[in-house]
Amino acid sequence: MRVTYMNASTRQTLTKRQTLAEPSRETQAVEVSETPKAAIMPKIEVAGLNFYYGTRQALYGISLGVPEKKITALIGPSGCGKSTFLRTLNRMHETVRHTRVEGEVRLDGADIFSLDVTAVRRRVGMVFQKSNPFPKTIFENVAYGAKINNPAHAGRRALAEVVERSLRGAALWDEVKDALHKSAYALSGGQQQRLCIARALTVDPEVLLLDEPCSALDPIATAKIEELLFDLKDVCTIIIVTHNMQQAARVADRTGFFLLGKLIEFDETSVIFRRPSKKETEDYITGRFG
């Protein structure tokens, strides 16, 4: 019952926000979420993914399809492999030594392991658990992604436009527009995290991976980020790892439950939270363990 309530309230926020922004989109969004999933080709398709840290196996045969322009949440107890899984989706696991991957990850049908790694990461952006602004000004932080990827943005005016657009996209512009040349470390924790999201948006990612982005934030900052995710859903596919089951229930269209390196269940969020088909999922959701 509680879950239904939350979903309703969520939809209400969504409606309100989108009526303000663009009235026509609301009906569209609802329609899409009720379209049968079979017709749409998944944005990211994972097949038989095994992951090893040295000789220790961390993921066992993960297969799933992430729908485009939806929010997919990954839940599960600590150490279940959901963060590891997330990092393989833009090959960030390669920064850790002695890791090995077997299986396939396809982005729009193309194997990401045969693409150029920098190109993959440009298309699949990432926001980390702990906000990690660079020791630079707010402006430089956001401009960074644009600068390294597209020399055409190097002009001051073009750069300023990208920065403003990205900060607006991350719902941070109004709070920082008068402090663009101050240190990013002067911002609050929640603002720093939204700054990191803005930074990720400068390269126009097709997919945005978020690794417990709200775990260090208070409920107000968390609510802001969740609202932001609803807005971003229109422009990119979002995958969020979270420890907070309410958060998954609030924001996600689909939810996957990980346990001990295996994907136990992956379905519509309402199904996962209301009538999960696996006993493990039900136990976890109802707080019987983990």
């Binding site: 833009n90 960030m92 920064t95 920098t118 190109a119 990461r121 440009r122 952006g125 990432m126 980390f128 702990k130 990690n132 602004p133 660079f134 020791p135 630079k136 960074y144 992604g145 390294i148 990827n149 240190s183 470390y185 990191c196 930074r199 990720a200 400068t202 390269v203």
Partner: protein, 282 residues
């Protein structure tokens, strides 16, 4: 019962006293040396000392202008060779290295760091002085640069390692290549520490005498180019201090004071400039 209660606080007081005493001894030795140097050196310090060439024994009014410039030239040469090599090597160790080769490099650098400085002099003597058949600033600069490389290498590596991995990940996740992430994020983040390390290492080799004795040697006149024997403050101090002449002893004190002042100015200056340049917390 009382015994167990009092024993820890007793130890506490004793250790507080002992550590405080040692700190006091350190400071007083330093202050004593400084005071002694200023007391003796300041008396012979004059405008002439800074601007004139040395005079023959018995003739008053000479200076060490050539040695001051010579020390600058030698340090410049050492920095020109030692800093780029040490810095880039340090970047390799911290950012790109695998496991075996960096271990060898690190170990060798630490060994090199412990090698007596006179051995560096012998090295430069064999490599440069013998083939060229004469002493030169080039040989002295090389000897100092060989001392500089391991220090710069290790400080660069240490300060880059202190940069949090989350910054590297942040840059890589935006599609930066490894080198781009290192060049645009990691090195700037560690730059303050690295630059301070470089200044300190230069200050350390600035006072080296042994490697210069048979490389740059000395010169009582201006040297014309890097190819000639060159005067330097440490060698002048050495020569003047062991001479039997009282006025040379006085000049050695003054040279010591100048050397100390230059090192101090370089250090403090570097710190001020750097603290202004990167006004970033953390």
């Amino acid at each position: 019962m009382r015994y167990t209660h009092h024993w820890p606080s007793l130890v506490n007081a004793a250790m507080f006293g002992l550590t405080g005493l040692c700190a006091l001894v350190t400071v007083s030795v330093l202050i004593f040396i400084l005071g002694y140097l200023v007391y003796h050196g300041a008396r012979s310090l004059s405008w002439n000392f800074l601007t004139k060439l040395p005079t023959p024994v018995g003739e008053s009014g000479g200076g060490m202008a050539n040695a001051i410039v010579g020390s600058g030239v030698l340090l410049g040469l050492a920095a020109l060779i030692g800093i780029p090599v040490g810095f880039l090597g340090g970047v390799y160790l911290a950012e790109f290295g695998g496991s075996t080769f960096p271990f060898v490099v690190r170990y060798t650098a630490d060994l090199l760091n412990g090698v007596p400085s006179i051995v560096m002099g012998i090295f430069a003597y064999t490599m440069v002085v013998l083939p060229m058949h004469h002493f030169s600033a080039l040989a002295g600069g090389l000897a100092l640069s060989v001392m500089l490389i391991p220090i710069v290498l290790r400080t660069t590596e240490e300060f880059l390692r202190a940069v949090p991995d989350s910054l590297r990940e942040g840059a890589l996740a935006l599609g930066a290549s490894k080198w781009k992430a290192v060049a645009t994020i990691v090195i700037p983040a560690g730059f303050r520490g690295i630059a301070t390390g470089m200044m300190l290492s230069l200050a350390r080799v600035a006072g080296e005498t042994a490697p210069l004795l048979f490389t740059s040697f000395s010169n009582r006149f201006w040297s014309h180019g890097l190819n000639e024997p060159t005067a330097s403050l440490p060698v002048m101090i050495y020569t003047y201090a062991i001479s039997p002449y009282e006025d040379w002893h006085q000049q050695a004190w003054a040279a010591g004071l100048i050397l100390l002042a230059l090192v101090l100015i370089a250090n403090v200056g570097a710190r001020i400039v750097l603290s202004r340049r990167t006004a970033m917390p953390r």
